[in-house]
Structure formats: C-alpha cells, structure tokens
C-alpha cells in the first residue's frame, strides 16, 4: 500500500514537472464539489442515466460489432449467432436493444424535467438546442439500428419508414434513393444504415454530449429563480455534487440496471424471421417512439402530414426563443406547463391509437376490430375471425 502511494506520488511529480497539474487538479476539485441548487432531486438524475445508457450502448455496440456481419446474407444469421451461440451474447444484445429503448425514455424524461423547471431559459438556450439534437440523434440511432438484424419486422418497418421521405416535394425522391442506396431496401441500405449507426451517429452524438455537458458544467444547473435573478449558491447550502448527488445517482442507477436485466431476461426482444422482401407481414408498426408520428401521419394527406409532423420538432428546437417569460418556477408558468402537459398527452394518445390500430382486441367480452385510424368496429360473433 505504501509503495503504491510512493508510485503515484512519483508519477504526479513527473507530470507536474511538465504540465500545470495544479490547475487541472483545482478544476477537477471544483467540479467535483460544486454545490448544486437545493431543488435538485431524483428528476435531475435522468441526464446522467441517459449518459450511462449512452456509454452502455457504446460498449455493447462495440461488442456486437465483433460478431455482426452487415450483409444481406449474413446479418440475420450473425445476430442469431450472437443470441444463441456466443457466450453471454443474449445479454450483450439485450443490453443494447433494451438499453436503446430505455435511453430514449431517459432522454425524454430529462427533457420533460428541463421543460417543466424552465431550465432552458437564458442563458442556457444553446444547451437546450444541443439537447434536442441529442434526442434527434438518439431516435435516428433507434431507426438505423432497427434495420440491422435484417428480420421481417425490421425490414418492413424500414420500408415504411423510408417511404415517407419520398413524399417531400421536389427532392423527396432523391432523398429516398440516397437514404436507401437504390430503389428498394437492399444490401446497399443495410450498409448505409450500418455506417450511420456505428460511425457517423456515435461521433456526432459524442460531440453534442461533450458540448452539452461542458456548458452545463460551466454555467451550472439552473435554479427556480427568475431569469437574471439567479443568485450564486452559497457554500454549505447547496448539495455537493460529490458525494451527495453521486450517491443519489447511484441509487437510481442500481434500480435502472435491475430493471434493464429484468427486461432482458423476462421480455427478450425476439429476433423473429429473416427478412423476406416478397411477403409483407400483417400489422407492421414502428418502434414505440415513432408511434405518435406514425399515427398522426395517417390522419393527414401525405404532404400535409409531413408538414404537421415537422411542427413538433421545430417547436422543440426553437422553444427557448418562443417562450420569453422570465419565470422558471412551474407554478408561475401556467400557460407553458399547460402546453407541455397537452403535448405530452397528445403524444401518449396518438401513441396508444397507433398501438391499437389495425388490430383486434377484446373489451368486456366483446371483440373490436380497430382500423388504421383506430376507429373500433364491433366484430359480430361468428363472422370472420
């Protein structure tokens, strides 16, 4: 033990002889013990949970790439190999697949927290915009990653998902061809999505997260005070980031890992059948985070639907410039809170509608068939199934 201390001291002196190590240490010290505002609670842990899940995606993603082969002939087989043959492959793939879903959930919760606590207001508009971009990246990750197993569901969800870009006037057709690497979904599409998923998006997301974190650290967490009236947190009043807040994160983190493992073991994401371009399975639906948009698009003619579905992301991106009231506390921002709750409710309603559309469900002993607009039709007993 003593010798270890000796070694570390000599390494430190070696570094100190070359770099201004004192400044680095002081910075680290300051960041570690920076007091956080007193309202920082469990809702504030979603940011770091998202970060943890991102790191989980990076590590498991790298591990999956070891056995994954991105060609039409081998993609499905290699994923099956990972699940069935590779040691703990089911765990790695489960961590990646379920981790992705939880990551999107955590990022969403983090955004909701930021929205309702008014943390996006001056001077943190850029942090918010970066956050929206991070969300966009995460969802695109989900979209590109969904195709990679080359299963029936992933193939046809991608067919439907890329089809929509063709609706954009003038350059929609070109965009679709560019995205698909040809007319249909082929090995070319797989290669493109693979490159996006494992090279382009990870670096883009890493850069966004780095700046996002840097700004958050430099500017500090927002309090609930009015814009321009934030007082610096006096020593001894705020919650120290380390160890107090980190311990709180530790608790949530433990629960998250337990939930993640439960999902992997209890509800494994099935691989299904290999993609067959000649037979469309019934009831193709996108992943849950696309469901609200998917359902919304059905109620409008294609072009208008696209414009309508572009509104929420644009609103999200520009929100700090639209909401100019200086208040932060949710109780003093009735309108903004109402808008937020309405948007959330709408997303949930459209999501549920999307989920039950084109399916048959029993309700109080009566069978109902939901059409593509999720309008229920009673199924008379004895007629077609």
């Amino acid at each position: 033990m003593k010798r270890l201390t000796q070694y570390s001291a000599s390494i430190r002196s070696w570094l100190a002889g070359r770099y201004d190590i004192g400044a680095v240490e002081a910075f680290a010290e300051e960041q570690a013990h920076k007091p956080l505002p007193t309202h920082v609670g469990f809702w504030h842990t979603f940011g770091s949970l998202s970060l943890f899940l991102f790191l989980n995606q990076v590590v498991t993603g790298i591990l999956l790439m070891i056995y994954y082969r991105p060609t039409v002939d081998t993609a499905f087989e290699s994923v099956r190999f990972i699940i069935t043959k590779a040691h703990f492959g089911w765990l790695i793939r489960g961590l990646h697949a379920w981790g992705a879903t939880l990551m999107i959930l955590c990022v969403l919760c983090h955004m909701l927290r930021t929205y309702f606590m008014g943390a996006y207001k001056k001077p943190r508009e850029v942090t918010w915009i970066l956050g929206v971009l991070i969300f966009g990246c995460t969802v695109t990750f989900g979209f590109t990653g969904y195709l990679l197993p080359w299963s029936q569901l992933s193939y046809w969800a991608t067919v439907v998902g890329t089809e929509i870009t063709g609706v954009i006037p003038f350059f929609g057709g070109y965009l679709k061809t560019l995205l698909r690497g040809g007319e249909g979904i082929t090995g070319e599409t797989l290669a493109r999505f693979y490159v996006l998923h494992v090279v382009v998006l990870p670096w883009a997301l890493t850069a966004f997260i780095a700046v996002h974190l840097f700004l958050m650290r430099v500017q500090g967490l927002a309090t609930l005070e009015r814009v321009g009236e934030e007082k610096p947190i006096p020593k001894g009043v705020g919650i120290p980031f380390f160890p107090h807040h980190v311990l709180k994160e530790g608790i949530v983190f433990c629960l998250l890992v337990a939930v993640l493992l439960t999902l992997i073991v209890g509800w494994p994401i099935e691989l299904g059948e290999k993609a067959n371009p000649l037979s469309t399975p019934v009831g193709i639906k996108p992943e849950w985070y696309f469901l609200p948009t998917y359902q919304l698009l059905k109620y409008f003619p294609k072009m208008i639907g696209l414009l309508v579905s572009l509104v929420p992301p644009l609103l999200l991106l520009l929100w700090p410039f639209l909401d100019r009231s200086p208040e932060r506390h949710p109780k003093k921002r009735r309108v903004a809170v109402a808008i937020g709750i309405t948007a959330l409710a709408l997303a949930i309603v459209f999501g549920v509608l999307g989920h039950i559309s084109e399916s048959t469900r029993s309700f109080r002993g009566q069978k109902y068939e939901f059409d593509m607009y999720s309008v229920p039709h009673r199924v008379q007993p004895g007629t077609h199934p």
């Binding site: 590590v59 591990l63 070891i66 056995y67 994954y68 082969r69 002939d73 081998t74 087989e77 290699s78 099956r80 190999f81 990972i82 043959k85 590779a86 040691h87 703990f88 492959g89 765990l91 790695i92």
Partner: protein, 145 residues
C-alpha cells in the same frame, strides 16, 4: 450505540461500498471477456460448411453434412462435386446415396434421384434442392444457394 461507535459503522459501510463496487466491476467485465472468447471455431458469417478434404474422396462417394439445421448430401461425381438438400421432396425423409445404383435413394418410399438430383423413379414430385459447392484450399465447402 450509534453515537458511541460511529467510526466502525462508517468504515463497515465503506467496506461494503468498496466491495460492492468491486463485485460490480467483476460482474461487468466477466461476461464481456466470456463473450469475446470464441464460442466455436466458425463465426456467424460462415454458413458455408466444410464437408471435408477433397483428397481421399473417391468419385461416386457421398457424405452427409448439416447446413443451417438441414441435412445435406455432398457427392463427388466424375465431373466434380455436387450438393443437394438431403430432404426428400416427397415426404421429407432423409435421402441416402446408393453406391450400387449410383443414385440418391429415399428409404421411405423407394424414390430415386439421379446424381443431378432429378427424379428417376418413385413418388417424389420435384428434384432435390441443389446447394452450392465451392472448393477452398482443398476443402469442399457447401452452402445454400
């Protein structure tokens, strides 16, 4: 009790914390190392299965191999190697090579196929499904076409 002995309680908690973190790390690293260790000689991309070396494989001799969970019959003819799905097109029995007749025979209903997989006699309605054969470094590799 709590006040009289705060230091030992604290250090106990710290030991637990440290131990827990060590277990955590090991629990994370062990599956990863195990995952990295090759599960079998052939990776996932190798759907082509080796049927053995060409040398010592006489003409008009056949071997059976399993490809993607399906039996396959690999035959060396005078011209070269041919491979067929060994599942009879009649009722799905596994066909066998009959050296005397130089035909592929289904034991179930006496269906016979010629070395090209075509039906010679018996009830099979279709020829056998042909598989692809490639010679790689003196090894006969079979894969589905």
């Amino acid at each position: 009790m709590k006040e009289s002995d705060p230091i030992s309680r604290r250090s106990f908690l710290d030991y637990l914390l440290g131990g827990g973190l060590v277990v955590w790390t090991v629990g994370g690293v062990a599956p990863v190392l195990s995952y990295l260790w090759p599960a079998q000689r052939q990776g996932p991309g190798a759907q082509a299965v080796s049927a053995g070396k060409t040398e010592g494989w006489e003409a008009w001799q056949a071997k059976m191999v399993a490809i993607n969970g399906q039996p396959a019959l690999v035959l060396r003819t005078a011209q070269g190697f041919r491979a067929f799905s060994a599942v009879c097109t009649h009722l799905g029995c596994i066909v066998q090579w009959n050296v005397q007749r130089r035909q592929i025979a289904c034991p179930c209903h006496a269906g016979f196929f010629d070395p090209n997989g075509r039906v010679v006699s018996g009830p099979p309605p279709r020829p056998l499904t042909e598989l692809g054969v490639a010679l790689v470094n003196g090894e006969v590799m079979v894969k589905s076409l």
